[in-house]
Symmetry: C2
Subunit: 399 residues, 2 copies
């Protein structure tokens, strides 16, 4: 890393040590004076996108373009100071990377940062940048934001162009971002969403009871004041079970569809390169390649039914749903694979609601359990990203 580019230390192992990507912001833009980091799945022209895996990096050429989302922020004045560590090919939610090391969770020592946008979350939570870009396919912005005590947005699917990005599962992939405060989150949104954030304010709060049932009692207790404040801000409140059977069942449909898409994205490369992955990542790819077309068809029908059911919950256009962002705070670093497998599945039951429906979800750092951050999420209508951001600012001011 040359001193002419990023000039600060990285005590959190957030940045890719083998990248000196740096893009100074345009002068006099809306984001001038802000710095940001970009997850190393976002292309920067002239730099090889690493994707959190050294064999991926070694077998790919420098990018011939810069990702739309990065270029748009730079054009608006923000300076991109570096690429950040990601779980291998974005396949993880805990943030442990066997090749490059696990970024430190600045808010929870000894705990994982969450992933796959681990380095972006660590860099933001540690104050190294003002905000950071991540991606969220199955929770990769929302989970690290919850674990690191950050605001994080998974936008409406398709709202942020995915040009110039190492895709995982295109029908689930989104680009989102982290910030330490709601205002900075909103400033990013004002540029990336290219609309004012003035929009219809929700008048109905749906508390997703089955989502809260998945969280630990400590998390439910810790989130209660924020939920109460949100309820008082909005007015009308109802508690509902979102899923007719279970949210876990819903998430299984995402597991099938996302896994199939993820396998299709890399199967030829894996066959050619025989790359090194941590066992857990390979395990998921091996399971993915055994998924049958019949399973995919069943899951797609399931996904369609989920969208219909969630549309019902939002039948009144001025509705917002709240739910825990994660079922628990960040687990310790170095847990056994088998121990955290169950935690991953439980978290997926929360994150797959937005994933399966393409809806935006914003997580707010409004609570702690034993000093460890945990987030509350707002789930909105497709295209209502600005409404969620505005509501987050309102709640932040009220808390």
């Amino acid at each position: 890393m040359s001193q002419s580019s990023r000039s600060f230390d990285d005590p959190f192992n957030a940045f890719c040590k083998d990248s000196d990507a740096y893009l100074p912001g345009a002068p006099n833009g809306a984001l001038s004076g802000l710095t940001f980091a970009a997850k190393d799945i976002l292309e920067v022209v002239g730099h090889v996108t690493g994707g959190g895996n050294p064999d991926w990096k070694a077998t790919h050429q420098p990018a011939t373009r810069t990702a739309w989302v990065v270029q748009t922020l730079v054009d608006a004045g923000a300076t991109m100071v570096g690429k950040t560590i990601t779980d291998e090919l974005t396949r993880g939610i805990f943030g442990e990377n066997a090749h490059y090391g696990t970024p430190t969770n600045p808010r929870a020592p000894g705990r994982v940062p969450g992933g796959s946008s681990s380095g972006s979350a660590a860099a933001t939570a540690g104050g190294l940048v003002d905000f950071a870009l991540g991606s969220d396919t199955g929770g990769s912005v929302r989970v690290p934001a919850s674990f690191c005590g950050l605001y994080g947005l998974r936008p409406t699917h398709g709202r942020i162009p995915l040009d110039g990005i190492l895709l995982q599962a295109p029908s689930y992939d989104t680009i989102g971002w982290f910030a330490r405060d709601a205002e900075t989150l909103a400033r990013g949104g004002a540029v990336l969403l290219a609309q004012d954030t003035a929009a219809e304010r929700p008048t109905i709060l749906v508390v997703a009871q089955d989502a809260f049932n998945l969280a630990t009692p400590q998390v439910v207790d810790a989130l209660r004041p924020a939920v109460d404040m949100l309820a008082s801000l909005i007015g009308q409140v109802s508690r509902q079970m979102l899923a007719p059977v279970s949210l876990t069942k819903w998430s299984e449909h995402q597991q099938v569809l996302q896994s199939r898409e993820a396998w299709e994205s890399v199967r030829d490369w894996i066959d050619q390169v025989n790359p090194r992955f941590s066992f857990e990542v390979s395990d998921r790819y091996v399971m993915a390649k055994s998924i049958t077309d019949s399973q995919v068809a069943t899951a797609q029908a399931g996904r369609d039914a989920i969208a219909t059911r969630v549309d019902e919950v939002f039948a009144d256009g001025a509705t917002v749903v709240c739910l825990p962002s994660t079922v628990a705070p960040a687990p310790p670093i170095g847990q056994k694979v088998s121990e955290r497998h169950a935690l991953r599945l439980r978290n997926s039951a929360l994150t797959s609601i937005a994933g399966n429906t393409g809806r935006p979800q914003l997580t707010l750092p409004v609570a702690e359990v034993d000093g460890l951050p945990v987030g509350l999420s707002l789930l909105g209508n497709r295209g209502s990203d600005e409404i969620l951001i505005a509501l987050a600012r309102e709640l932040a001011e009220a808390m």
Copy 2:
């Protein structure tokens, strides 16, 4: 590698660069003056056994003993000059190691050396040592010996103690060795088998027709002169199909049983460490962990039936079976995983005969196809290792 230990260059990437294990031979022994190398699954006191995987090495302590087989050779005067590269945890037959690089096949440039005893085969074929120790669970001595133009012995199962060895699948694991000539192979045997090599000479040669049917026509043609010479040395010859259905079916039983045992050997470590493997290795472990007890029971019954059938072929005690050591010469380096998958299965159909029955198999470098080595194998009765060695010397002199 300090100059006080191994003092020669390693142009074949055969030796572990991160090990300086070196054991000078005892003076005035039967093997004095000979040097050998040891596959890095064999323990040497004070050195960490690497097993071809950096995460294995990083999570294990230095060995507290030296493997019986290494110590016995050193006590007999041979000098162990270094540890050699192996496929990860011995899980491969091609010799490509994503972490440490693929040892060069000195006899077949651009081709794989074969594995998993890749470095031991390369060091021997390249003349860096007089002989070398490998292990053979599913072909890991026989295949690289065939690919590198070496003599190689997979001993009778249980004949060479496995003390001080990183085991893969104990009911299949054996320790064997490579040499460039039959005499050196025999000198190793005289020490390790601790018996004279004078034993009953076979009077019946069974040519395993179904094994030859699996080889390419070029291999069959190339092996013909050696088979004819062997026939003339022995006298009585019969062609037989060994397997009632197919050798491939036989090998499937080994796949099941070996995979289960291999998974049991490492499952706790994998769960704890989440190690990095090349995808192909993880793929095999993931498949292994899904094997059911019912599949194991079926395979064990199959294995018992194979032993009974092969006992019939050997009903006359003075029988030896010949078969191709590999179905083809060494494939090119860097083949797609999918391309060589079929080759691995076909080779396994040959190697699993000895594997499933615990019989000794000796491969002789008696042929070439387009300048690439390919071996002919002798399969003997349990405990007849010395007979195979004596026959190999006889054939070597006659050819």
